[in-house]
Subunit: 206 residues, 2 copies
DNA sequence: GCAAATGTTGGTCTCGTGACCAAGTCATGT
DNA sequence: ACATGACTTGGTCACGAGACCAACATTTGC
């Protein structure tokens, strides 16, 4: 095994861990299996990480970062409706192509929620792990698009972003349960429609 | 310990298991803890259930049944919009008041998905566990309400029902992550609005 | 080119925990 | 009193986490 800096080695192990957890689930992602997948002895793993909690958090971070990268190709010139549809479609494609991983990230998220205090005493797991992703990227993309259109949305953009993100969370379960890609894809179209309708100023109310 | 029929004993244990899983999570719901909570020795638990998988499935079923009962008071005379809002509000109240349980049910669901073949070889976990709940109850309530209004929805009612159910799934995570009830409640209002907008026949398209 | 720091190996040990089972005991109806 | 079903006890077996270690390899600074 080649010589790597501890940082590089950590990267390699976390990558392997992401692979393991995507296929085996959180419960099946034992330190031994991860070490095995990374091609390093167990001792190395304990040399690189204080404990499994630390590793888990890094997996969560890496997973979200991977997801983030799916949104890099977003068209930053498009109008509001086009942007909504593009974000939803991109998100959907990512889930479809990585649903094992996304499911596991949800398991990890639940784990983090349940072990908040033990894992990150006093800190806000959610804000730390997710805000850079959902909170910023999607909300700001939508806000910028709305601004380009001179659109003052009927519902605040951050609320629309959360609506989008968490409907997609539901979709992960839906896909895992039914394995019906066509139906799930139809749901994403529905979601895009809904977001557009919610955003447009309405006749009836303010 | 009093003598009970095996069926009664099973009921008691499943009840205890639901309590344990709601507070400790799936990983923390060990046979020992469950037996402890039920006030029976560990052996009794293995006397009553073939194995833990069987118990898990029963917990899942009980959890969903509990949830089902929240919808018993639905107004079966109301129109479409009122029914949508009532279903969403009822669902939301249940989640808010039982979010530990709902979170655990999602963990169990993931477990069932990952162990499909081992647990229910050949059978469809999802259809068996969830269809009686979401698929039937909510979809049929909405369909009946639409019919009362003479409303031919722009989107098929079953799709609206799935949209509703899985947006609520996302909400469970959202609530667990943020603990921000007010924000989550606003999201439910948004969801109801979206469903109504999606259902109404639109000007632009067919 | 040498020494010190850093990373690697592979193995072992303990500790806790989890699922599960076999053989026994007890209650209850007949 | 005795058969049967209901429960108890005490254990087995497997496995994961985490810690430790002693020798070995590779860099890096000097």
């Amino acid at each position: 095994m080649t010589y790597l800096s501890a940082d590089e080695r950590r990267r390699v192990i976390v990558d392997a861990a992401v692979r393991v957890i995507a296929t085996e689930g959180l419960a099946g992602a034992t330190t031994r299996r991860i070490a095995d997948q990374a091609g390093v002895p167990l001792g190395t793993l304990h040399y690189c990480f204080r404990n499994k909690d630390e590793l888990n958090l890094l997996i969560l971070g890496r997973g979200h970062a991977t997801m983030l990268s799916a949104f890099e190709g977003l068209d930053r010139e498009a109008g509001f409706e086009a942007t909504v549809r593009e974000v939803v479609a991109t998100y959907w494609r990512w889930i479809r192509d990585h649903h094992g991983l996304h499911l596991s990230l949800m398991e990890l998220l639940m784990w983090a929620i349940r072990n908040k205090e033990a894992v990150l005493p006093g800190r806000d797991v959610w804000a730390e792990v997710n805000a850079p992703f959902g909170g910023d990227l999607i909300a700001s993309a939508l806000a910028a698009a709305a601004e380009r259109d001179g659109l003052r949305t009927a519902v605040p953009v951050p609320e629309l972003a959360r609506f989008l993100i968490h409907r997609m969370d539901g979709l992960v379960l839906e896909l895992a349960e039914t394995s019906d890609e066509a139906s799930c894809e139809r749901q994403t179209l529905l979601l895009a429609d809904a977001l557009v309708l919610l955003a447009l100023p309405r006749q009836g109310s303010g």
